[in-house]
Amino acid sequence: MTTTILNTTPGQITRKQKLGPASIIAIGIILALLILPAFVQGYTLTSYRDVLLFALFALSLDLFWGKTGILSFGHATFFGLGAYGMAIMSIHFSIDPAIVSLVGLLAGVGMAALVALIVGYFILYGGVRGAYFTIVTLALTLIANHVAVGWPSVTGGDSGLIGVPPFSILGWSFADPISSYYLALIVLGACLLSSMWVMSGRLGLILTAIQDDEIKVQTLGYKTPLLLLMTFAASAAMAALAGGLYAAGNGFVAPDMIALLLSTEVIIWVAVGGSGTLVGAVIGTAIVWWLQQKISSINASAWPIVIGTFFILLVLVFPKGPAAFVLDKVKKLRRDKEDDR
């Protein structure tokens, strides 16, 4: 049954909306980012590259949270596993430089997917959903952070590991800012478009149906825990991909790449863009990153307070996310205007 779900092309499902507004926005953003290096170079470009990788990380969370309605508070675990996988493979083992980046990336992504499968099996098949899932994944980040700090011989402990080589494959090196920027952009673009494509198909519909009434979906013959588990694992693997590329791009890993604050921040990136839209995760990351630059330049320690306040506002003022909040207001304004006439 799962194979037919994935094989069903979106074209069969929604023939009328082959190119929805979300995909047009996504393609527009990717095209705009393609020409960005014509205007920005050097160090600034590398920080834009990091934003792209964070956007990929946010996308991975939205793939699970936005589509299943279950919030993972532990996604930094997977980002961190990707980063540490890359760092540990390239620093502790003497692997042929031609393939070391690939091996590191595969190790990190594989570890993340494996952890997601194991933990996800215990909680999803245990019938744990909603708030419990959130809190168990939160604990997962704490556990992972404990291990990262408390196992210095492997992870470098508090100070992390320095000296991760730039991403390279079979002699192709992505060391300079421009090529590493394009690497990040291509990976992000590919993941974004393919996620949107898969989710506009039957799998996306079934995941929405599970949010409505999981029991009913089960009576229709779907193995709902399996579908949720696979989505979770795919999401974790994508987060690790972002983490691995981030470690290679910056040359180091540190415990704050596998910490609760990062798990928290990624939720905000997704929420600002509007969860469930996928492309919104990318936009949200860019907006929040820009805000963070502004606020941190005034007072660095104010940032966690801003995040905390945002969480409270998110629930009390705009539960559907700021994007939907603004859209609703605009719609209402327009309606009021029409009523006036």
């Binding site: 919030l71 245990g126 909603g130 419990y132 809190i135 604990a139 992972a144 905390g308 998110l314 629930v315």
Partner: protein, 282 residues
């Protein structure tokens, strides 16, 4: 045999700590189904009450009285202002209490600074137990935690407040039919949970580094104590603390403490799979 005494005392110390930090969470979680992610910060608030009291020339005992009062007042204020609006949606509760937690951490750090605070515990020496010298303060901690636990059970079983509370945990609709005002009972229960956490903070302070982030270390553990024990049941908290505390102590003899903690949390996830209701459900 000689080695068994310090081991059991170490395990008892940890169990007592877990008992103290988890009781408040169990009440709030069991009653309102709210996972209070700011629970750790109430522990921190308790510890910093000790810092302030000692800074003003007061002693440990004064702080032990002051902290639960401070915790109760802050808890009551936050419940009225924020928590009362989010009971229906557990995810909202998580986001709001987490936001609260981040703000409280940062505010405490802005006021007191990032470096660990120095405080003095009440009993510096050690006591001989069957030929083994053991820190006196830890023995006091064990006795105090057991006393608090007993007192909480008494409040639960014998007082009007406890009866209303238990009725509400069983079924809030039934309780409100019986004339229990749910808003009042929720506010008082949340504040009491916060007070218990603050009390735990004072007791913990002499054993750990007192910083704005100290609470977070206890958040996940108290959550798992409650889940493994069974939400909403005070005896479940004892069972959960006993299991997690003794396991963690036993494991830390062989492997680094942080890794032992990680392993125990992982084990708790496995237990959830097979006993989703906890060991001793309400």
């Amino acid at each position: 045999m000689e080695a068994l005494i310090p081991f059991s005392l170490n395990a008892l110390t940890l169990i007592s700590i877990l008992l103290m930090v988890s009781m408040g969470m169990a009440i709030i979680f069991g009653l309102m189904n709210v996972i209070n992610l700011a629970h750790g910060e109430f522990i921190t608030i308790g510890a910093f009450t000790l810092v302030v009291v000692q800074g003003l020339g007061g002693n440990f005992w004064l702080a032990l009285i002051a902290a639960p009062i401070v915790g109760y007042i802050i808890g009551l204020a936050l419940e009225k202002a924020l928590i009362a609006r989010i009971y229906e949606n557990p995810l909202h509760a998580i986001l709001v209490t987490w936001g609260l937690s981040l703000i409280l951490q940062q505010v405490i750090q802005l006021i007191f600074g990032a470096s660990p605070q120095s405080i003095t515990g009440p009993f510096p020496g050690s006591i001989d137990i069957l030929g083994v010298a053991y820190p006196a303060y830890r023995l006091f901690l064990i006795a105090f935690a057991l006393a608090t636990f007993a007192a909480t059970i008494l409040v639960f079983k014998k007082t009007k407040f406890g009866l209303d509370l238990r009725a509400s945990i069983q079924s809030s609709e039934m309780a409100s039919v019986m004339g229990v005002n749910p808003d009042k009972i929720n506010a008082r229960a949340f504040a009491s949970g916060a007070a218990l956490a603050a009390l735990a903070g004072v007791l913990l302070a002499p054993l750990t580094a007192v910083t704005a982030y100290m609470g977070i270390n206890y958040l996940a553990r108290s959550f798992f104590v409650v889940l493994v024990g069974g939400a909403g049941s005070i005896s479940g908290v004892a069972a959960g603390s006993g299991l997690i505390g003794s396991l963690e102590t036993a494991l830390s003899y062989e492997i680094p403490t942080t890794v032992a903690q990680a392993l125990v949390l992982a084990l708790a996830i496995v237990i959830l799979r097979f006993r989703p209701q906890g060991i001793l459900p309400a």
